[in-house]
Every structure is written in structure tokens, then in C-alpha cells.
């Protein structure tokens, strides 16, 4: 198993390169962006040496906006995925390990949450909550944890049937030790791939919501840039440099996380 792990397939490597690129851009945003993305200037400048991708309706440098948008988009995507994975892991570990009424309750809650359409609930929550990055993450995570929980729960159940877990239980090894030292490491691969998929899902939802103008305020994500490009008629003005880059960034980063999510697990098998 370990040997195979050292040669991940091309798709995974490709995905990791994409993710790595965007993470570096997000971390070094201050150094890469030539301007402060919120600084105002001359509006609607076409691309030039000073403004690589021109300026928007407020005269903000679009390239700098994109660079800083990477940070916002990634932070939202990754933190929603972390929240989702955390909820999913805790529920799956406890319900899969203890079984009984708690397991049935978790299964029932999962089923019901799956029946609630996620986009409308997310939008409803956004309407009620104060808008901001934190509420956006909460609103998206509320419905997104079900898939991870289900998959992990069935895996935990499988592992609990293994002899070594049964032996440990009989020997009286403390529960936290079994859970975190012996079951959790076995979930590592699924956890990582599920998380990559959660990130791509969250980034897609976020880009959709921000595109609709329901996402973050103040901090512009890629979806927000696209929102302003679309609703300020950049298409009519033929400002390709305004509406196309955020589309490309969103699609490529989602693709990166998806590649890792779908093909990442194959190397482990």
C-alpha cells in the first residue's frame, strides 16, 4: 500500500499543482498584487502595462482584485470544508463506534438533512444572518456535512468489525485511544479526498452565491468580481479582461480540488 502511495497518478499531481499554485498566490497576495485592490482610480481602463487586466467600474485594478480574491475564495472553500469534515468525522466516529440509539439518531438526522434542499436553506440562512465570511461558511456547512458523514460512518463501522478493534475493546483500551489512534488514521485517505471534494463543492456554491451578490461584503471573492462584471454590463462593453479571468480562476481551482478528490483515493487502493 505504501509503495503505491509514492506514485500518485498524473491527475492527482495535476490537481495538486493547481491547488499549490493558488495557495501560493493566496499567501503571497500582498507581494504579487501591484495595487491595493480597494484603491480607487480611473474607471474602465483597458489592459495595459500598468494595469494588466485593466480596471473596473470604480477604477480598481482587476488583476489585484483577482489576486486578493484568491485568498477570499480559498479561505471560504477551505474553512467550509474543514467545518464539514470536522462535523462529519465527529458524528461518524461516535455513531459508528458506539452504535445504538446515538447511531440511529445520527442516521435519522443525516437522512432528514439530506432531504432539505441545500441551496434554498443556505440562502434563507444568509437572509437571516448578518452577511459576512463567517455566516457564509456557516450557511454553507449546515447542509454540506451529510455526504461525508455517511461515507465515513460506514467506513468506521467496517473498521470496528476488524479483529484488532474488537481485541482492543476486550482488553479495555480506553475509548479515545481506540478512536483517535486506531480508527482515525485508517480514515486518513477518505478524509483527505472527501475534504478536497468538499472544498470544490464549497467553492462552487460560494461562487454561485457571490455571483448572485449574496456572498461576502467588503472582501471580494472571485464570484463577487464576476457579480460586478455581470451586473455592471462588462459583457455589453466587451470587457473580456473583466468577466473572463474570474470564470477561469473559479473553474480551474474547482477542477484542481476535484481531481485530487476523485483520483486521490485511487492511489491509496
Amino acid at each position: 500500500m505504501n509503495k503505491k502511495k509514492r506514485r500518485p497518478n498524473t491527475a492527482t499531481i495535476f490537481g495538486l499543482i493547481i491547488i499549490g499554485f493558488f495557495v501560493v498566490v493566496a499567501l503571497l497576495a500582498e507581494y504579487i498584487a501591484p495595487y491595493d485592490p480597494s484603491a480607487l482610480g480611473t474607471a474602465y481602463l483597458p489592459p495595459s502595462a500598468e494595469h494588466l487586466l485593466g480596471t473596473n467600474d470604480l477604477g480598481q485594478d482587476i488583476f489585484s482584485e483577482l489576486v486578493f480574491g484568491t485568498r477570499v475564495s480559498l479561505v471560504i472553500g477551505i474553512f467550509s470544508a474543514l467545518a464539514v469534515t470536522l462535523i462529519g468525522t465527529v458524528l461518524a466516529l461516535t455513531s459508528g463506534y458506539y452504535g445504538g440509539w446515538w447511531d440511529r439518531l445520527v442516521a435519522a438526522i443525516t437522512d432528514i438533512t439530506m432531504a432539505i434542499p441545500s441551496l434554498p436553506l443556505t440562502m434563507l440562512l444568509i437572509a437571516y444572518l448578518q452577511s459576512g465570511m463567517f455566516s457564509l461558511i456557516i450557511a454553507m456547512s449546515v447542509t454540506a456535512w451529510t455526504g461525508t458523514t455517511r461515507i465515513l460512518r460506514s467506513r468506521v463501522k467496517q473498521i470496528c468489525e476488524q479483529p484488532y478493534i474488537k481485541i482492543e475493546k476486550t482488553l479495555g483500551v480506553r475509548t479515545p485511544v481506540i478512536l483517535f489512534k486506531h480508527i482515525l488514521p485508517n480514515l486518513k485517505d477518505i478524509l483527505l479526498t472527501r475534504m478536497a471534494l468538499s472544498v470544490s463543492g464549497a467553492m462552487m456554491t460560494e461562487s454561485g452565491l457571490s455571483f448572485l451578490g449574496l456572498g461576502t461584503f467588503g472582501q471580494k471573492s472571485w464570484g463577487n468580481i464576476l457579480h460586478f462584471a455581470f451586473f455592471r454590463n462588462s459583457i455589453l462593453r466587451k470587457q473580456v479582461w473583466w468577466y473572463l479571468p474570474p470564470i477561469i480562476c473559479i473553474s480551474i481551482s474547482v477542477l484542481g480540488f476535484m481531481l485530487v478528490g476523485y483520483y486521490g483515493q485511487q492511489r491509496a487502493k
Binding site: A115, I116, P120, L124, A127, Y128, G213, G223, L226, Y243
Partner: protein, 330 residues
């Protein structure tokens, strides 16, 4: 069979009840006065400033001073009576607004469902019986790639290409103003082409993937091999043995898609200025029109629950293996 259906129905009813309860709890636990969610922010601050007595009267009218239990029962009653209050944006009952919007959405979503389900099934079966063939090698990456492009991005790109560059279709809206009769129908159709094609492409990709994987899985089942080795022709095996089994998951997924008929196309509707349910919910949320937003949420949730129930029933009706599974429900 009856027991199975009964059980699923009970679960569905319970789920709907929980969803209604969630939406009640949302109003009462969210930061801010509940009255804001009923009459809207602007109105609230206006009244607070100019006419606090009337505001108090409104609070009493909605019974917000009663205990939560009383309010909960009343909320349940109003939901059951399909009374969802009025939209504070245009002061019409939410139900009236809904009827207008639903008509337009269904005009998009019903043809989408019909065409994409057939297209997805046919293409999926074709790719599934020749895995690795030329068609499979082209179609599978194509549909997979579609999954990585967010729908808002794809809609925008196609809008730019077909409406702005090629000028084949109108840019926005549902019907050209001032046309009547047959011309009106043609104009609506003309406006529908692009949004409907985008929806069809997205829906087809889901159906295609499902059908392809089921068919290619069933192809390797032993009973298919047995049938072939008994000398039954390829075509007959395909229709009698493979397709018959492959239809089970597909029809379930079709039933589930029925739940999205009213609310599944929000982003496409917003991009194309289509005044359907998606647009209605979008506007409600951005205008903080809570009565409408809450109604849209309840409606789409109930639709999804009911269509899942339908999926379960259809599934049990066509697949005897499922309805025997009752004791395994634990």
C-alpha cells in the same frame, strides 16, 4: 408493499414537519426582532421612528407577544392553510406571486426534465454497452468536465457566445414586448432556447453518468453472462436483462429530479432574467423579503421530500427486492 409505503410516507411527513419547525425556529432565534422578518427592515425602522404605537399593534396582530408554544401552533396552522403572509415588496400574498413565477419556471423545467432524461438514458446506455469505445471516450470526459464548471460560469460564457457574439438569441428576458398571439409564443420559445439548452446539458450529464455506470456494472453480472451463454441474442439481453435492471436506479433519480422542478434553476434564471421561482427566491433574499424567502424554502424542501417519497414508492413498485427489505430497516 403497503407497509413499506406507509413507513416511507410517515417518515416523509415527519421530515416535512421538522422542516416547518426549522423555519419557525429560524425566525425566532435569529438575531433581531422577529417582527423585522415579518414586515421587513425598512418598514420596521420607519415605524419605530414615526409610529411606535402602530408597530406595537402590528406585533400584537402577529401575536409576537404570545408564548412561543402558542405562536408555534398558530404558525403550523397558517402553513397548513397555505397562508404564508404577504410579500412586503409588492404587498401581494406570497401565494399569488408564487403562481405567477411557478408558471414561468415550469415552462423551463418540464421540457428540460423530459428531454434530458431521455437524452441521458440513451447516451448513457450507449456508452455503457461499449465502455472504452469511441463514443464513451468522448462523452465521458465531456460530461465530467461539465461538472467542474460552475453553472454560473458556463451560463455566462454561453450567453456571451450565443447572445452577444453570434446574436442568435435574445440577451435577456422572457418575451419581447408588444407581441400577441402566435408571435408571442414564438418569442417566448426564442427566449427559452438558451436557458433550456444549458439546463438540459447539465441535467443530461447527471443522467448520463448514472446510466453509464449502472449499465456497465450490470453488463458484468453473472445473469447477463448466463443469458448470453444460453444463446440469447445481444439485443434481447440488452433490453430484457440489462435495461430492465438499469431502469430501477434511473427511474428513482428521475422521481427525485421532480423535486427540483420548481427551484432547480436559480442561477440560470437570474443570468437570463427569467422571472421564475429561482429569481423570486433570489429577489426575496436580496431584498430581505422574509415571508417570500421562507415560503420558497418551505416549498422547495417539501417538493424534495415528496419527490423522494415518490422515488421510494416507484422503486418498491418496480423492484420486488426492495419491498421485501422491510425487516432490514433497522
Amino acid at each position: 408493499m403497503l407497509r413499506h409505503v406507509l413507513k416511507k410516507t410517515l417518515i416523509a411527513v415527519a421530515t416535512i414537519w421538522i422542516i416547518i419547525t426549522i423555519s419557525f425556529i429560524l425566525v425566532h432565534t435569529m438575531p433581531g426582532e422577529p417582527i423585522i422578518f415579518l414586515i421587513g427592515e425598512e418598514e420596521y425602522y420607519y415605524l419605530l421612528d414615526k409610529d411606535p404605537a402602530y408597530l406595537e399593534q402590528l406585533i400584537n396582530k402577529y401575536g409576537l407577544n404570545d408564548s412561543l408554544n402558542v405562536q408555534y401552533v398558530r404558525y403550523m396552522e397558517s402553513v397548513i392553510k397555505l397562508d404564508f403572509g404577504e410579500s412586503y415588496y409588492n404587498h401581494r400574498p406570497v401565494i399569488e406571486n408564487f403562481k405567477m413565477a411557478a408558471k414561468w419556471t415550469l415552462m423551463l423545467s418540464i421540457p428540460t426534465l423530459l428531454i434530458s432524461s431521455i437524452l441521458g438514458a440513451v447516451l448513457g446506455v450507449y456508452a455503457g454497452i461499449h465502455p472504452g469505445g469511441r463514443f464513451d471516450r468522448i462523452a465521458t470526459p465531456f460530461f465530467l468536465a461539465l461538472k467542474t464548471i460552475p453553472s454560473n460560469c458556463l451560463s455566462l460564457l454561453l450567453l456571451i457566445l450565443f447572445a452577444y457574439k453570434l446574436r442568435w438569441v435574445p440577451i435577456n428576458g422572457m418575451v419581447s414586448p408588444g407581441v400577441e398571439g402566435m408571435d408571442r409564443v414564438m418569442s417566448i420559445l426564442h427566449h427559452m432556447v438558451l436557458p433550456i439548452s444549458i439546463l438540459i446539458v447539465f441535467r443530461t450529464s447527471g443522467g448520463f453518468m448514472l446510466m453509464k455506470s449502472t449499465v456497465s456494472q450490470i453488463r458484468n453480472e453473472e445473469y447477463v453472462l448466463t443469458a448470453r451463454s444460453k444463446g440469447i441474442g445481444k439485443r434481447k439481453v440488452l433490453f430484457r436483462h440489462v435495461l430492465k435492471n438499469a431502469m430501477v436506479p434511473y427511474s428513482t433519480s428521475l422521481c427525485m429530479q421532480l423535486g427540483g422542478l420548481l427551484s432547480g434553476a436559480m442561477i440560470v434564471e437570474v443570468v437570463f432574467g427569467w422571472r421564475g421561482m429561482g429569481q423570486m427566491m433570489y429577489n426575496a433574499v436580496s431584498r430581505r423579503d422574509f415571508a417570500t424567502a421562507q415560503f420558497c424554502f418551505l416549498l422547495s424542501a417539501v417538493c424534495v421530500v415528496l419527490s423522494n417519497l415518490l422515488g421510494d414508492i416507484v422503486n418498491a413498485a418496480i423492484d420486488p427486492r426492495i419491498r421485501e427489505e422491510v425487516p432490514l430497516s433497522e
